[in-house]
């Protein structure tokens, strides 16, 4: 993997890594101010090191889990080292086992790496779809999708009522209206899979990752089973 590829990985996953790091450090009041520093160290000592990203083997698990556990292990090691250094090289007050137990405690899920990751994936899919609609001169498809699906789901807005929608976009019959909205949903699903395909390989792995993200959300929404 080239240096430019590594930089792309950093650029793409920076938000999710930072969110997870803040979440991890929330249990260590002394280290909270160190999040930027720790993230830079992680990037330099891990991601930018030749061969490190190549350790992400699809046969051994998801790329998302690889990044997450790598950052977690790195933070555990760094805190231990810094703790020891503060005490002049004496044994750290916290042993590695203690640290790992502490860090593995229940996470505030809404702040977790997975939530940041999920938002990154969905944002990516929406951006791709908007761009694709603009390029193919189908901006009405994007606007219909926005007013019927995105704004209601993400902003709590009321969906644009059917009769207003068909009037606004000049849809002449229910067949045209249904076709437009169904096309929008299919486009989004295609772009969602394309974004996941940037870090998972093969149809099965892509499907499994989307299912895993749904399972993660189901945990946050007890009693809700996602389609």
């Amino acid at each position: 993997m080239e240096v430019t590829d590594r930089k792309q990985v950093i650029h793409k996953y920076f938000g999710a890594l930072k969110a997870y790091l803040i979440c991890l450090l929330s249990r260590f009041p002394d280290q909270r101010a160190e999040s930027d520093d720790l993230l830079q160290e992680f990037i330099l000592k891990k991601i930018m090191q030749p061969g490190w990203l190549e350790n992400a083997n699809p046969d051994k698990g998801r790329f998302r889990d690889f990044l997450k556990s790598s950052l977690r292990n790195f933070v555990v090691g760094e805190i231990r080292t810094r703790d020891a250094a503060k005490r002049g090289g004496k044994n750290p007050v916290l042993s590695l086992d203690d640290l790992e137990q502490e860090i593995a405690g229940p996470e505030p899920l809404s702040d977790s790496f997975d939530m940041a990751w999920l938002k990154m994936v969905l944002s990516g899919a929406l951006e791709q779809m908007e761009r694709s609609c603009a390029v193919s001169e189908n901006t009405h498809i994007w606007k219909i999708f926005q007013s019927r699906v995105i704004q209601p789901a993400l902003e709590g807005a009321e969906p644009l009522p059917y009769d207003q929608l068909v009037a606004q976009f000049g849809l002449k019959s229910p067949a045209q209206a249904t076709n437009a909205l169904a096309t929008a949903k299919r486009m989004f699903a295609r772009h969602l899979r394309a974004v996941v395909a940037q870090y998972e390989t093969g149809d099965q792995a892509i499907k499994a990752e989307i299912e895993a993200l749904k399972l993660f959300l189901e945990k946050l929404l007890p009693g809700v089973k996602l389609a």
Partner: protein, 162 residues
């Protein structure tokens, strides 16, 4: 996106394989109104016209709507046939249940107009199949009153006074 609640994110994520309804069920009434107000060319323009009568009828109804056709005192049977074929094709090709319901209503409405005003059948459907189709339409809460009245007359005509 950053401030979105998990419920909203879940709705977006489940679009990946969402087979649920596209429209709110309460919007079926608006969909049917839209079907009636649709210009015939919008839906029938893409159909394969099989004979000269259909072609001539479509031209003579240029700029007219499905409502104009279904409420016409002497509608051209050829155009009713084309409307029925459009509905049948939608039922066959569409994956959307709500659009299929609208197509079914159009299908039986076209049959009912041909039977009651032209004394013709648009196809091979007869007897109890037609009666159950008209009854299905009458049970749709979103169907407008004039279409319900049409289906009621057609059902009576096919089923007989008893």
């Amino acid at each position: 996106m950053f401030f979105s609640r998990p419920e909203g994110l879940a709705r977006i994520l489940s679009l990946d394989d969402d087979a649920g309804p596209l429209w709110d069920p309460a919007e079926m009434k608006a969909m049917w109104r839209h079907q009636l107000a649709a210009p015939l060319e919008a839906d029938l323009g893409g159909m394969t016209v099989v004979n000269n009568a259909q072609s001539a009828a479509l031209k003579s109804f240029a700029g007219k709507t499905f409502k104009d056709l279904l409420s016409h005192a002497e509608p051209p049977v050829a155009l009713l046939e084309l409307a029925k074929e459009f509905a049948k094709q939608t039922l066959k090709d569409s994956d959307d249940k709500q659009l299929k319901e609208i197509a079914s209503a159009l299908y039986y409405a076209a049959y009912a107009v041909a039977l009651t005003r032209c004394g013709k059948s648009l196809g091979s459907l007869q007897g109890h199949h037609l009666v159950s189709g008209f009854s299905w339409g009458l049970e749709r809460p979103w169907l407008d009153e004039p279409t319900k009245a049409l289906l009621t007359v057609a059902r009576k005509q096919v089923a007989g006074p008893h």
